[in-house]
Symmetry: C2
Subunit: 607 residues, 2 copies
């Protein structure tokens, strides 16, 4: 149930992503035209084992008549398992309203069922659902298994059910060796809600949520478990997303989990992978343009104080520089029929070891991009991020990638005071928001910050930054909380490139002197700043005059300004960070979005 | 915040839907280029009053220094209100982590603020947020207002905050007359989750949730409140939906609320509206077809035992009949370039008084459809449902709508035993699922049943039936839980028309004898039926042989079979209800969906 589609779709996706085996979820099989034997044959052909049949519900804690009927039902499922060639069935704790609270009867009925299983050469993995009627904790499930004391009866441990109930995985050490029959892994965000709804809608793959899955796994392995690591993730988004893609995301989460567990416990003998090389900064942002949007982007960059310093030796790519901020304007990408579009196509990230960064990305299932190399072109290692953005691992040295650009002769002067790229904002596809955070953390070693929700004018927007420890690499990832439909006036959160300045008032004056058009900020916004903050009147007057946004947190502050949206997809921001301000001015985002919409409805100076 | 868009979008939508006034939500104003005075002038021009300015947060329960700063902030907002020409500001209970639990200080600071308001001719409506730090119930907010005892200080009552905390609105009778300054209304489903998240994401308009809004309103009116009925609905879907449409839905919810309150309390002098005339059955289902799909639909109807008994006098519309089941096949609708499409375009519902049904619908803001009348055509009253389906109110008598059809001479014989339309299944647009339930209840008098979620192969599907008391009119409404994106192999829940038979085994034999192609049911499905139910082996064998689905509940059962999907949009179902079975075979829906997908991937015999 991690994957969308029919059983046929799911099996294909799991095999393609490199999984060794699958659980068969009964409803999938029931809806499939493949007989159990046919499914087994197809799986074998794809190199997949069938490791579990599930779920069998409401077996126990009932009266003898009903239990007899349940055993009959169980025998029918044993028939299916025999055809599938799988030996283990998951029995979950009863949720029946009339399940009796009688540990003796529970153990006795489990033992009877286990005996039936043993006669068929099968075994039962008993799992405590977090919302089970009488058994809702793993301790209680272990108590039942211990009492039943049958060799064909063991535990299925599910990290969600254990951790959502604040269960202590350290207790697994007290489980008899060999009695953990199966392990299901799921992460989840911390949510204060009914645990059933939390489980059915909001689970995530390991590393995407708030649970300590590496710690959990270590305890299970310490307890002697040597079976499959299986994922059981009920998630509304995954349920409707491309299963081929979700399966890769799922496999990456297991690779992450293995790596974390291995780091903590070298004695376990798990495979090791070299850590992500340190990233030290943004070397460039690359915009894909066409013949219409390219000159417009150039005009805006010039207006922001950038100089067109270089021209690629063999491709229609311009290098624009100001301080250590570099923008590549690339007209070589073949674009669809739509014209006038500009968008962030690539990020250059400075790596301590670009080749090793790329190797690591490839080992974690990031698509490695073919790089068409020409004469005197640097060998740039690049991978695709979940949103399709190309990520280049670079070393910005004279004989590195800059050598691909011939000087135009235009000098790189002080410009408007921009010194570097502060961050790049990337709009994520609806289906891959959670995948993205794990990707950037695992593949690039960037830490995800807290998820926030922005009450944007056209619907809630989820926003999460990923950064390196030194804060010299910052990305902000956004996606609409709900996929947008018919009423969607414009892109809800276009991409952006934010440049840093040490003095935004000076920069803004320079831009104004150059006649650079900037996003207009409504007077009501500055009136509200006046009400909310104790701002020096002269400073507030300057913000008002120059169209600056303001935020503060702790002893730090953030001042920022924006260009209009270019080509419908991308805008520029200029920011000044003061003191320890570590955010991105999120409270101002709705005002910026409304202003961008207004600008689009008006003259649309940037198309 | 009920409506999506910028302040400019919202004001336009509220005025168009006939609202008398608005609340100004501060973030909207801050993001607007309109000065407060300009907004006031625009509202006046549209006939809208500005009834409240909100929210003012974290005013009280703080130290003197911070309170002084808060008063300065409040004075700045009074400046805004003076420009807006609105007299009331909403102050909500503090959520500040360091708000002190000191009822005396709270009352004192509220009184000081109220005094500042009074000096400006303004007043403060104090509201208990359900998650307020010290004040989280309406009783506590009334206690604070009573203690502060200032004429410029009163209560804002919000139905969500009161009812989500199980507050008792009967207690409003103890509030001093005139001290309820403002009323905000919101409904919500019962959810077991953090009240802040429940409030911010899942509120609904009155009549769409589980709260007793009519009872709440009656208590507020009894307490002497005579101000506006305002809606404050935070909802993820409304936040991103077309505001013009949401505003109509909102207004309809208030008309519903007024009607319910009036029914319970004639003494209140609320306007009355004649009740919805009784609906007694499905008179017909109308499919829109084109030259490609029309003959295919005819073939399938013939295969199901229908006879083409009539031809419309002036339009390319065929009447197909079997028992009391009637299907109109209409090729007169101008269709888009896409060919081969068939879909349910209209429902005929038998009304005790068609003209009055239509009048009621119009009074409740349902779009009344122009009916092109030709010679000898019945005057059919029709309105559009939220999904665009045309709803005709009919009387099926010889001089009624059937008189528009000339007999073809084909006799209406016993066919395959189909006797009537059992239900019609309509796929709802993502943005209007909650609107639809209120529409069918209020406009047509059909009761909504419990909302269920179907774990469909390509994502969760929400499903809710609306029925009349006699169960002779049944509609099932479905929508994806998440709007579907790139990975969406086929329509997740196509529309369908379900016909009733008294003996589905006989009907299925007749269809088989006629060679009618039906949806194939996988063998695994019947194996599972065998495991789950105590079915007579002969009966199970018949189900297996004939491709019947089965469900049971209580002492009743449901047997059903399906055609393939026609024109990508619609299929037929044949059902037999046994005993008191009142559902729609929901557990079988995922199996049916997978089978329909398979049929589409295969020969696609129905196109």
């Amino acid at each position: 149930m991690c994957l969308s589609g029919t059983l046929e779709d799911k099996v294909a996706a799991a095999a393609a992503a490199g999984f060794d085996g699958i659980e068969v979820f009964e409803p999938d099989l029931i809806a499939s035209p493949w007989s159990p034997a046919e499914l087994a044959a197809r799986c074998a052909g794809l190199g997949l084992t069938i490791d579990l049949y599930q779920p069998f519900r409401d077996l126990d804690s009932t009266d003898p008549d009903r239990f007899a009927r349940n055993l009959r039902r169980l025998e029918r499922k044993f028939d299916v398992m025999a055809q599938l060639g799988t030996s283990t069935v998951l029995v979950c704790s009863s949720v029946s309203p009339d399940a009796v609270d009688d540990p003796g009867r529970l153990a006795e009925q489990l033992a009877v069922a286990a005996d039936r299983a043993a006669r068929r050469g099968l075994r039962i993995a008993y799992e405590a659902l977090a919302w089970g009627r009488q058994v809702s904790t793993w301790d209680a499930s272990w108590d039942a298994v211990r009492r039943a004391d049958h060799p064909a009866l063991g535990l299925c441990l599910d990290s969600f059910h254990v951790l959502s109930r604040d269960g202590d995985p350290a207790g697994f050490a007290g489980v008899d060796p060999g009695r953990i029959f199966f392990l299901q892994l799921a992460d989840a965000p911390h949510l204060r809600m009914d645990v059933l709804q939390w489980s059915r809608h909001h689970r995530l793959f390991p590393g995407q949520g708030a649970f300590d899955l590496p710690g959990f796994l270590t305890h299970v392995l310490d307890a002697g478990y040597a079976g499959p690591l299986s994922l059981e993730v009920f998630n509304d988004v995954f349920r409707q997303a491309d299963p081929a893609r979700t399966a890769v995301d799922a496999m990456r989460s297991l690779l992450w989990l293995e790596e974390r567990a291995a780091a903590g416990r070298p004695d376990l003998g798990l495979p090791r992978r070299p850590a992500a090389p340190r990233l030290t900064g943004h070397s460039f942002a690359e915009l894909a343009v066409d013949g219409v949007s390219g000159p417009r982007v150039g005009d805006v960059l010039a207006g922001l104080g950038f100089a067109h310093t270089g021209q690629h030796r063999t491709k229609p790519v311009q290098l624009w520089e100001q301080g250590d901020a570099r923008v590549l304007v690339n007209a070589s990408v073949v674009r669809p029929a739509e014209t006038g579009v500009a968008e962030v196509a690539a990020l250059g990230l400075e790596s301590a070891d670009p080749a090793r960064s790329a190797q690591r990305a490839a080992s974690l299932l990031a698509p490695v991009l073919p790089r068409t190399r020409g004469v005197a072109e640097a060998d740039l290692s690049a991978v695709a991020a979940p949103d399709g953005t190309q990520v280049f691992f670079t070393r910005t040295v004279p004989d590195g990638w800059p050598a691909d650009f011939l000087p135009t002769g235009v000098p790189r002067d002080a410009g408007a005071g921009i010194t570097a790229i502060d961050h790049v904002g990337l709009t994520q596809p609806f289906d891959s928001f959670d995948e993205a955070a794990l990707f950037y953390r695992e593949v690039l070693g960037l830490g995800p910050e807290a998820l926030t929700e922005i009450p944007a004018p056209f619907g809630l927007v989820r926003d999460r930054a990923v950064t390196n420890a030194a804060r010299s690499v910052r990305l902000t990832l956004t996606a609409s909380l709900l996929r947008r439909g018919e009423w969607s006036p414009g892109v809800p959160a276009p991409q952006h490139v934010a440049f840093r300045t040490g003095d935004i008032v000076a920069t803004a004056h320079a831009l104004r002197a150059a006649g650079t058009p900037l996003l207009e900020v409504p007077a009501n916004y500055h009136d509200d700043l006046d009400a909310r903050f104790d701002l020096d009147p002269a400073r507030l007057a300057a913000m008002r005059e120059l169209g600056l946004f303001y935020d503060e947190a702790g002893d730090g502050a953030y001042l920022h300004l924006y260009s209009g949206v270019l080509g419908g997809r991308v805008f520029f921001e200029v920011v000044q960070r003061i003191g320890g301000y570590d955010g991105y001015g999120a409270p101002n985002a709705p005002v910026r979005m409304a202003a961008h919409r207004r600008a689009r409805l008006a003259v649309a100076p940037f198309g």
